[in-house]
Symmetry: C3
Subunit: 392 residues, 3 copies
């Protein structure tokens, strides 16, 4: 890398952060199913605006309950469609009543007639709901099978599965890089307050191992024989980790977290918690806890965290994301990677970028990209932290 | 149009929206008296800043009550003039006391002397008050006679005339286009809640007729033999309509509404209500109603309207503008007209643009523009909605 | 000047306002000690972000009490350093624990090792505390002796010295120009309300005298034989003035005020009040008064001042700065000097610019700049206003 021209390198680094429909990364991300909203955020017969990958879209749920994702504006005079009416599985514009189906096909233009309607189409993306999240396929051609996002650990019987989304005002790629950076845990999660996560991991500097898998990258951070942290990151933007539960007695929790660009300076941190059910009373406490603290978004507390240095109360749903937020947002909206000093402890980040550059280059050259597929072996993340996760 | 080069067409469409002093549209709009403020908004001996057509100005009223409109900044060190003192019919700068008359002529520069003052002039525009509005002429040369903005319907005896202004954060031209778009009424004014206006007009798709007149465009929308809606639009940005009154029993109201650019992304929706006086008690109720609901500006409730979809209470002064706001603001700050799909129901918009392009071209070529003059026949807007407007 | 090309003049005027590290003015300002914060704003063992001259920095105070000013971001992954830990006289990054000393030298990179740390350095600027202010030297090479900012009047025994900082959202140079503009006092400080300052100075237009000194510019404004206002301005951005005290009976106060760029559109108005101690009771009242009104920043009351024209209560700590704020902010964030009309009463401003252009040119041509040094004669500012200042 040292011998490469700085402008070339700057451009390469910038390419990691640009996700518009006409960019290499934008095209690459659009080849995958992406979670775009929590299922519960949109009721039958309602619509709302949704920005994903720099595109302004309309998310609506038909009166029968099926979710749809179409363009943000009516083709006629470009008014926002979500302000109109959901009728059956269609959505009608407030301005002159043009109506679209879930594929974006106009099927009624009241003051114009059927011939006009037939010629009009806006964007319309396939949608799939899984684990309380709405996924969309925003790429060209037919959507791939809905397989890579799935995990056996999320589909086992006896789980409470909870979904959550936050918008962070920074670029998606520094959030992905944080997933492949095991060292940060030893510092970031000891900042301000030490929650159960920090306690479990300890401040020891881990021995690192990053391996490319069929699905993405397996990350192993060994702090001691009894403190081995494993996570499976799936291309292009999902991390599968386990974290401590709500109390010291709680089982550890499997989590799937995606970093999905709203646009290049905002990112959905969106994902699920798969929590072992352990009886009605404890489950009720888990749901109450989620109800009470799950709405917390550190971005709503930016100045408190950065200037007043006040940390939130709840360790699992508030403190851990707040600590990550301070570290990642602290890099700026889009970190200037031309000024960074990576070292040997940034192995995971180096591998991550290498894979993305390889895949973007293949795509640009018209070569096949890697056929990522979900890991078919059982998840073996048992040795996270110092205790056995009860859920494994 | 299909055969024209897309860049040429994009430029033509853009010219409709640009109103700075050095643009074609800016020059055209400046040939007309424009309402810029509500008379009651500025008391004797006071001054305030006012932005019109992208120019930062100072509106002040002399101690004797006469309104003046001069440049926004002192010529000396460019401090905002409205922060200074009104003295007689002059305004004095806070910073070093330079004083200007209502024509913008400096007549005192205390630490400099009379010779300096005599050489200094800032902008100063003729002002005329009518129906509770302050009009200004911001063009070159002598102001035309104050005639085109007048309507016989506003000057009849026995009227309560009320003035109102709102700033909407969108381009003036999509507000003008909405005036020449009779179809929108069948959808927009049935959205959320149906007020008396929606009820009167019904959801039927009208037969449309648009005709160029001496003053602008006459618009006739026929929904049935007994439901004919007529409005007279006057060049370049005034609409004369009738709308239902405050209650089902109330007479219909004549309204003059102007869309005046604050700049290219904000617009004054400014105008008057001419309400038939029908006795002290009902008149008092009318004034109370205006007092209570007349300050409503949908732009202050943007997120409520667009995200929470909560509609305001009062149908005439709140709901109708809120519905229009959602439709027009929903197009964006400046709608991208290169992406629109106009149809046969957009006749009024097509005529409107044709007239503006014709006038701008005449002006550019040094040819005379059309000598628009107010309609001298009596207004005949009787068949608005399903009932006879009592005021006609 | 009249014969110079307008573009050349525009560029010359612009150069007065640009203070980035790569600009002429930025380089010139960095040759001087600059006050950047109030000492009391940063406690031992704490850190905060600080922007000065367009640079994002970290201000922290070691656990032993010594202040340090280093770069804003860790060199590793560019996270904001102030969010980390102060340890001894070092600061450690929250993200991966890299640690820096007060000179910006990295001395620990936990997951990398000592060899990596030794090669890493961020910005680190010398710091000096004086009169309750933290000064920094942000230039190249060794810092000059801390001498020019000192005044005998601040170091006399028997003074209460109070420090204060405000951020105003305008360019630093229009604040400096205001210091060399004696005429403004006759208008600005009579606006809204007349406080003791306005009363003392009166509305009379002064005879002006501006002389370049060893330290900067001496300004003498003579309104009458018994009303002579003198101030000593020190290059490049400090003003030494005297102003009335808290009550009519109070002694006059020596003040040092610096205008330090946060960046090109925001400025620290930072300085001290040297108030003669006159006994425990009166001193307590002085401190209480400062406690009660000293936090006032007119920028927090912008709309009140500009639109509602509501003036604050306290004449010395609130009204006077509010009046100046309206005059200077009224010029805009960066006043457009190409449009101004300077006259004979702008002598001070003309001299000020001439000196800055001369110094910038010398620097650009590699010639020595003037060796500004503090005035060694006793301050003789006795005849300020109509009464003898008790403190002189």
């Amino acid at each position: 890398m040292a011998s490469q021209h700085p402008d070339f390198m700057a451009e390469r680094l910038r390419s990691l952060t640009q996700t518009g429909a006409d960019t290499d990364m934008g095209k690459l991300l659009r080849k995958f199913w992406q979670p775009v909203a929590v299922s519960a955020s949109i009721g039958p017969g309602t619509a709302r605006p949704l920005r994903v990958l720099g595109e302004d879209l309309t998310l609506y749920r038909g009166e029968g309950g099926r979710a749809h994702l179409v363009g943000g504006r009516c083709a006629h005079r470009l008014t926002l469609l979500h302000t109109g009416w959901v009728q059956g599985d269609d959505i009608r514009c407030i301005y002159h009543g043009w109506k679209y189906d879930g594929a974006g096909q106009c099927n009624e233009a009241p003051a114009e007639g059927a011939a006009t309607a037939a010629k009009v189409k806006i964007a319309g993306y396939p949608v799939h709901e899984y684990c309380g999240l709405i996924f969309a396929y925003m790429g060209e051609g037919a959507a791939p099978q809905f397989d890579l996002p799935r995990k056996a650990a999320f589909e086992k019987p006896g789980l409470i599965v909870l979904a959550r989304v936050q918008v962070w005002p920074c670029n998606w790629f520094q959030m992905v890089e944080n997933s492949l950076d095991a060292v940060h845990v030893s510092f970031v999660h000891l900042a301000g307050k030490v929650g159960p996560f920090g306690e479990a991991v300890t401040a020891a500097i881990p021995k690192l191992d990053y391996t490319e898998t069929d699905a993405g990258i397996r990350q192993v951070a060994t702090r001691s024989a009894s403190n081995v942290r494993i996570s499976d990151w799936a291309f292009p933007n999902n991390n599968h980790i386990v974290t401590p539960g709500r109390t010291k007695e709680s089982a550890w929790v499997h989590r799937g977290v995606w970093s999905v660009p709203v646009d290049d300076t905002r990112t959905y941190k969106i994902g699920i918690y798969a929590i072992p059910s352990v009886g009605p009373e404890a489950d009720r406490a888990t749901l109450d806890h989620f109800e009470k603290f799950g709405d917390y978004n550190p971005a709503d507390h930016h100045d408190e965290l950065f200037l007043e240095k006040k940390w939130p109360e709840d360790p699992s749903l508030q403190l851990t994301p707040a600590q990550d937020y301070v570290a990642m947002m602290g890099q700026g909206a889009i970190v200037d990677r031309t000024r960074e000093h990576l070292g040997k402890s940034d192995l995971g980040i180096a591998l991550l970028r290498k894979i993305f550059w390889r895949e973007m280059e293949a795509m640009r050259n018209g070569h096949p990209t890697k056929p990522w597929r979900r890991l078919d072996h059982a998840e073996d993340m048992k040795m996270q932290g110092r205790r056995e996760p009860a859920s494994a």
